[in-house]
């Protein structure tokens, strides 16, 4: 079955030519590729949205992982935000705290919806539920947010990679942030081209991001990278809505991400052998959690 789009250029061209939303092109492609009914597809995405809502809700009540490395930060962020005197602004910190909430639930082996992976599951819902408070979308618009994000993720997955082990964290949180940014644009009433610009701007600022989980766990630095991915997505969406464009076309940015991922040493691709995982404290934490010889000197 031939896909309706293989890259972002084709996706945007089709949306413009047919005067449709990117989410609609993604829904039509899903119908075409899987022979499922529109109703079925919408119901499944609605369920995914519900899983995301429940994860954020759970995370905001405060969860902690078995290792003790992560947990409770979403609660701190929400409490700080509620004081109403944040530097970076209410929406931004709301997105950040909800991204953290989701990833804290993930680290604690709770139920989440991968977007596009579990390690990067916070960015898309975090931004969605923060922007929701500002734009008051309908349930259908919220579901469409996930299809728009999915359309861009689909391109990355098929032309580059969404796996940290294959392409570093730029492939996971980088992709998630780009996807969220493109989806914010559609929800905010921007054009398909602006979605593409927002994705490109976001991804450009995630290039080179290594995957170096301490003790091999999806906790440090994953949770905080989701936080910053969410912030990156919101700011890039504002830039694109302001009319800022990316000098390097979106598909070429995705290509660059793939090339960078290919040339990354394996120590920096989810093996827990390099980067933060290889710091003295990282090694000390690993030995503390899993036993074995204490290699580093911890705090």
């Amino acid at each position: 079955m031939e896909a309706l789009f293989r890259n972002v250029r084709e996706l945007v061209e089709r949306a413009e030519k047919e005067q449709k939303l990117i989410s609609e092109i993604m829904i039509e492609q899903e119908i075409l590729m899987t022979n499922r009914s529109r109703e079925d597809i919408m119901i499944q995405m609605d369920r995914n949205l519900t899983v995301m809502e429940e994860a954020v809700e759970k995370g905001l009540k405060g969860v902690h992982s078995v290792s003790g490395l992560t947990g409770g930060d979403a609660v701190l962020l929400q409490a700080y935000r509620e004081k109403g005197n944040t530097l970076s602004g209410d929406l931004l910190l709301d997105a950040v705290s909800k991204a953290v909430a989701t990833n804290e639930v993930n680290a604690a082996m709770g139920t989440i919806c991968a977007t596009p992976t579990a390690g990067s599951a916070g960015v898309v819902p975090g931004t969605l539920f923060a922007v929701q408070n500002k734009l008051n979308p309908t349930r259908e618009q919220m579901i469409r947010y996930l299809f728009t994000a999915g359309a861009f993720g689909f391109v990355v997955a098929n032309n580059a990679s969404i796996s940290g082990a294959a392409g570093g964290c730029q492939a996971e949180v980088g992709s998630a942030a780009g996807m969220a940014s493109a989806a914010i644009i559609e929800m905010a009433g921007g054009t398909p081209q602006q979605s593409s610009e927002a994705f490109a701007i976001t991804m450009k600022n995630m290039l080179g991001l290594v995957c170096d989980p301490v003790a091999g766990l999806v906790e440090v630095p994953c949770v905080k990278r989701n936080a910053m991915g969410a912030a990156n997505a919101v700011v890039a969406a504002d830039m694109a809505l302001a009319g800022v464009t990316s000098r390097i076309p979106c598909d070429e940015v995705i290509g660059a991400m793939f090339e960078i991922g290919q040339s990354m040493p394996s120590a920096l691709r989810e093996t827990a052998k390099g980067g933060l995982a290889a710091t003295p404290t990282g090694k000390w934490l690993e030995s503390k959690i899993f036993g074995g010889a204490v290699v580093g000197s911890g705090q």
Binding site: M1, A3, R6, M26, Q29, E30, M33, T34, N35, I41, Q44, M45, R47, N48, S65, S67, V105, N106, A107, A108, M109, G110, T111, I112, C113, A114, T115, P116, T117, A118, G119, A121, V124, F147, A149, G150, A151, G153, F154, A157, N158, I162, S163, G164, A165, A166, A171, M179, P213, A215, G216, L217, V218, E219, R269, E270, T271, A272, I289, F290
Partner: protein
């Protein structure tokens, strides 16, 4: 195209913490069980690359056992699958390997009971999506995302045509098909991905075809 559905990107709904190392691992375990056709008595799981380095932290081991117990990616019982396996009388062993493999997230699952043994190699390619790359020494490519039939047969002319004709008779469309053999004239394998689930009637008819040794089905 490796990824065909938007739900490969926005999904799966799963127990954390890692789509490739937890959800993908559970799926690899579950396909192994499907191929084996029943719950094995024992499992030896060889882990390679990133799986070998990080399996404890990602609960890859727990997830693979969950899959072998037939749990889906979002089944809460994944968390306690070691205890569940013990209750079910299944023993298991994990062997981290240092050898080179093509994909960083690779597992070789060897399972068996008193009747038979099976070896399967699976890779987790990201976002919870997996591929099966080897079965009992036969190289193959199986996404695990579509219903599929595996046919072990004698390497004789007409086998492939007979199987294809049988599927045609029941109006089952083949989406992807691979054939392989270790040695001319000996054991051969057909891997057929189809568009809909294959019911028992078709399976029984396939089993009766000449020179067919074993037919296994993997539901979507």
């Amino acid at each position: 195209m490796k990824f065909k559905s938007v739900f490969d990107i926005i999904g799966p709904v799963m127990i954390g913490p890692s789509s490739s190392h937890t959800a993908g691992a559970a799926r690899i375990g579950r396909v192994a069980r499907d191929l084996f056709g029943r719950q094995p008595d024992w499992a030896k799981v060889h882990l390679y690359g990133s799986f070998a380095e990080t399996y404890k932290g990602h609960s890859t081991d727990v997830a693979i056992i969950g899959g072998l117990l037939d749990y889906d990616t979002f089944d809460e019982r994944i968390k306690t699958s070691f205890e569940e396996a013990q209750k079910a009388g299944m023993t298991y062993e994990f062997i981290p390997e240092t050898g080179h493999v093509d994909h960083p997230n690779t597992a070789r699952i060897v399972i068996g009971d008193e009747k038979s043994e099976m070896s399967m190699m699976g890779i987790s390619i990201g976002g919870g999506k997996i591929e099966i790359t080897e079965l009992n020494g036969f190289p193959l490519r199986l996404s695990g995302n579509h219903p599929a039939i595996l046919v072990v047969h004698e390497d004789r002319s007409g086998c492939i045509a007979n199987v294809a004709n049988c599927l045609y008779k029941y109006d089952i469309n083949i989406g992807h098909m691979e054939v392989s053999r270790k040695e001319k004239g000996h054991m051969a394998l057909m891997v057929i991905e189809v568009d809909q689930n294959v019911d028992k009637e078709v399976m029984d008819e396939l089993k009766k075809l000449p020179n067919i040794t074993q037919v296994t089905r993997i539901a979507d």
